[in-house]
């Protein structure tokens, strides 16, 4: 049933794109080529699909802003394999001569892409991968990010933890770049306010056998636990945390990914978890309400964070094309236009920092009835410190 | 003239779990003699041969080569000491030419096995020695034939040629005539009677006519145990042998 819907939707999407392009066939200029480098298979497949949907939706909605130019999508499956990333990026750059290259989800893939695309004649926009370095030491004029740096969602949680009166906290994450950067960001704000990290645990990626770590947390009995997990690992961790009897006894805090796209699978176990993120599904602003309604209508399933990030990427492209009256041949002008975009995003308006990372609000959310309800604004217009970026 | 003892066993035993495949065997094998070994199935003949060439390690007891214990050395070192063997089932490089089969054997003595660059086909001397080995067993004309395409009897001959090509002093032959027709067997018998003048040969064989014809010394084994050793006539007349064979009833001579 679900599948039928999916196929139907894909077909509908295809149809609407066709009609879109025929409507504009009169335009004389070449289409704007948008290379899409996302995982469409494997663990991150769902994220890739949502991002692509959001991206296409934005560009369709703002077709009028494109000054008569059409969009040609070139989609490549990264399989979330970093070792293939340079080759695919290279193909979009040199074979397809893409004007924009959108991707990826996975930080390792991002590193491989940046290596190839940095300083080249294309614009790379990262719609998810949070590796700090992308807008840190590796920042470049032609690299933008519409999502977040690993630092951003976790940093405000340190302050929240202190406000709640937690003094001793255990931190836990998968042992990879993004996880560590998240823990570091939390630690930075938490310890500077007088908190203490009693233990930092790193779980080998992608291991999901958490029993021994949970047992240790149970024996340490800290005031709270801060974790970074995403996807399948997040589902497993939250359920195990509950099953080991820790839920309700030791508050669980996390970077928002802990409860993004996973709530249904986590069920009741997720209730009460506090997370910080630059978005929350139930945000009350008008853009978000419209976006969620339209997305659900269009694709037959609810939108999520990744769809929003893809959507914002589309908005950003559309607004830059509009600002330049459709002529994006001058890279300097294009970069200038992109830098000065103010994105009217479902997450709330945001602008770009010098390092091309969003300056955005971070919300404190709490899981209630299977939804991430916004508790308050944890940080407003938070800018990544962009350490190591010399732009 | 008394020939030198080349290979000896002292109280050799081999147990497989609780099963005694070979029990307390002490034998001596002499230079320039053919030592036949017979016995009913399961008597431990093949086990003995496999131990003499180092394929199996003895459970207890010793193997002596020229008075030196070699029970604990590695299998390939047996061959390096000049103890060569042929197998019960044909065991050759069947996709290579007969010459190549022997060349592998010759190369061990000629050296150069760690030479990455020099072509294996570029040395005349190696070819000559290998060809000689083939000629010795009467396979001179088969030199460039693929081993799998020559007749079964010839393959058995080739196997002996390979052993000869290693320049051994002991030949351990495991039923070289098994599965052969009468004429082919006769070829091998002729060959062995020539070879035994130069080598110490240990022959395990079911063909009684052949073994009586060839053996200088003959050992009869039953159930992993030594029954009798002596000249062909001594063995033939020994009542224990008759009893053993009649008792078993499956070997008639």
């Amino acid at each position: 049933m679900k599948n039928k819907n999916k196929i139907l939707n894909t077909a509908l999407l295809g149809l609407s794109l066709v009609s879109l392009s025929t409507a504009l066939v009169a335009a004389e200029q070449d289409p704007i080529k948008v290379g899409v480098m996302l995982p469409f298979s494997g663990v991150y497949g769902g994220l890739g699909e949502a991002t692509r949907n959001g991206l296409k939706m934005a560009l369709q909605e703002h077709a009028a802003d494109l000054q008569g130019r059409t969009i040609e999508f070139i989609e490549m499956d990264t399989e979330a394999k970093p070792s293939r990333a340079p080759e695919i990026a290279n193909s979009l750059l040199n074979k397809s001569h893409a004007d924009f290259i959108i991707g990826p989800v996975h930080s390792g893939v991002a590193m491989g892409m940046i290596k190839v695309l940095k300083g080249k004649d294309t614009i790379m926009i990262i719609p998810n991968a949070g590796v700090n370095a992308a807008t840190g030491p590796l920042c470049a004029p032609n690299i933008f990010r519409t999502s977040f740096s690993a630092w951003q969602p976790s940093y405000p949680m340190g302050k929240v933890a202190l406000e709640k009166g937690f003094k001793k906290v255990v931190t836990l994450s998968w042992n990879y770049g993004f996880g560590q950067e998240s823990l570091d960001a939390f630690e930075e704000s938490f310890t500077s306010g007088g908190g203490e990290i009693v233990k930092k645990m790193l779980v080998p990626f992608p291991k999901t056998e958490f029993q021994s770590y949970l047992s240790e947390i149970g024996s340490i009995q800290p005031d709270a636990v801060f974790v970074f997990f995403a996807g399948g690992g997040a589902v497993k961790f939250v359920k195990d945390y509950d099953a080991m009897g820790l839920k309700g006894k030791i508050p669980l805090l996390g970077a928002g990914f802990l409860t993004e796209g996973t709530l249904e699978a986590q069920g009741d176990s997720a209730e009460g978890i506090l997370t910080t993120l630059h978005y929350a599904d139930p945000l009350k602003n008008e853009e978000n309400q419209t976006f969620r309604r339209d997305y659900a209508d269009k694709f037959g399933k609810p939108s999520d964070l990744y769809a929003v990030q893809g959507y914002d990427t589309g908005l950003m492209i559309a607004s830059a094309v509009k600002a330049l009256n459709g002529d994006i041949s001058d890279q300097k002008a294009l970069i200038h236009a992109l830098e000065n975009t103010k994105v009217k995003s479902p997450r709330g308006d945001f602008t770009f920092s010098k390092a091309h990372n969003p300056i955005q609000n971070i919300y404190l959310r709490r899981v209630e009835n299977g939804e991430n309800q916004v508790v308050k604004l944890a940080a407003s217009a938070l800018e990544d410190p962009a350490r190591g970026c010399s732009m | 003239m008394e020939n030198n003892v080349i290979l000896e066993t002292e109280g050799l035993c081999k147990y497989w779990g609780g099963l005694k495949a070979l029990d307390d065997l002490s034998l001596a094998f002499h230079d320039n003699q053919l030592h036949g070994i017979v016995g009913p199935n399961g008597a431990g003949k093949s086990t003995l041969l496999n131990m003499l060439c180092g394929h199996y390690k003895p459970t207890s007891g010793k193997i002596l080569h020229r008075g030196e214990s070699i029970s604990s050395i590695k299998p390939y070192e047996f061959a390096r000491r000049g103890i060569g063997r042929s197998f019960q089932k044909t065991n050759i490089y069947s996709n290579s030419t007969c010459l190549e089969n022997c060349s592998v054997a010759v190369q061990r003595l000629m050296g150069g096995s760690f030479n990455f660059f020099r072509s294996r086909y570029s040395q005349k001397m190696l070819d000559e020695i290998a060809t000689q080995a083939l000629e010795k067993v009467g396979l001179g004309q088969r030199r460039d034939h693929i081993a799998s395409q020559i007749s079964y009897g010839e393959q058995r001959q080739l196997e002996i040629a390979m052993v000869l090509a290693t320049s051994p002093e002991v030949l351990l032959l495991d039923e070289p005539m098994a599965g052969m027709g009468h004429e082919e067997s006769q070829l091998i018998i002729d060959l062995l009677s020539r070879l035994k003048k130069e080598y110490c040969i240990v022959l395990v064989e079911h063909d009684m006519d052949a073994i009586f014809e060839l053996s200088d010394q003959l050992t009869v084994m039953v159930d992993g145990q030594h029954l009798v050793t002596g000249s062909v006539d001594e063995v033939r007349d020994d009542p224990r042998v008759k009893e053993a064979y009649l008792g078993q009833g499956d070997e008639v001579y």
Partner: protein
Amino acid sequence: MLLNKRAERLFVWIFFPLALLMPMFLEQNEYYVNKLTTIMILSIFVMSLDYLVGKCGLITLGHAMFYGLGGYIFVMIAPEYEAVNFWIYTFYICAISATVAFVIGFLVLRTNGIYMIMITLAFAQMTFYYFSDSIDFGGTDGVFVYVKPETSIFGLSLFDLDNPTHFYYLCLLSLFNTLLFFKVLIRSRFGRLVDAIHANPGRTVALGYNIFIYRLVSYVVASALGAYAGYLFTLQYGFVNPSMLSWTTSGTALVMSILGGMGSIYGAILGTLVYEGLHYSLEHLTEHWLLFMGGLIILMVMVFKKGIAGFLEDLLEKRDGK
């Protein structure tokens, strides 16, 4: 003769001249030059595996370990912001990975068959996790190589590694040399032993050879070449990542090798070309390319046992027969 099969001669005479001219047609499109370069690097890797599996009969599911090591050793020993000499580092990398292969081979080659498959896999996983968990080498995100080596010999610099076409020719040269090396090796007296041990290990022991040593030498040589391929791959885009070491890399290389024709050495190039070509076209045709790729692999194992090289050889022989 060095190339003793007709199909082999035909292939070499067509492939290398064509590959030599290829960049002229593709000059305007850097992508294809880069793609072909990657294929040639992979071919070197697959060739070294083909030698091990097809020629020596040592089935390993951990060859990617050396592919990855080639890259990581470079990252470990080369200074970060200084151009080193390519040839000297080629030597270092081959020597270090050969040493590693010597130690590991010592353990691995005590076993055989299924156990060897498993143990090589285990060692590869060990290294994979080591680099995945290591913060110094970027963990799962991998590391960049910021400065590419220079290639001067006695002051004469032939290749500029930042230029894709130059790099292409370097890889083509490496591929040709690897093919030549293996062909000479197989024809040599050492090669005679390799053939003998593969065809009949028991017999070879009975002839007085210590087959362990020969296998070990083969393992060390193939591993060093695998590492060299990994080193080239790292230099191509200046990027190392643990996924180079993953068991799927080993598995895919095995598939390429058998597709090309196990043990034929030159088949490694064919197998890599065809596999990558199929992957490329299926990926562009359908989102479910994995399904077709899997189906093709199954089909290949069932009915196409001898691989492309075997198929070509049969074809040419049949024609000769007529």
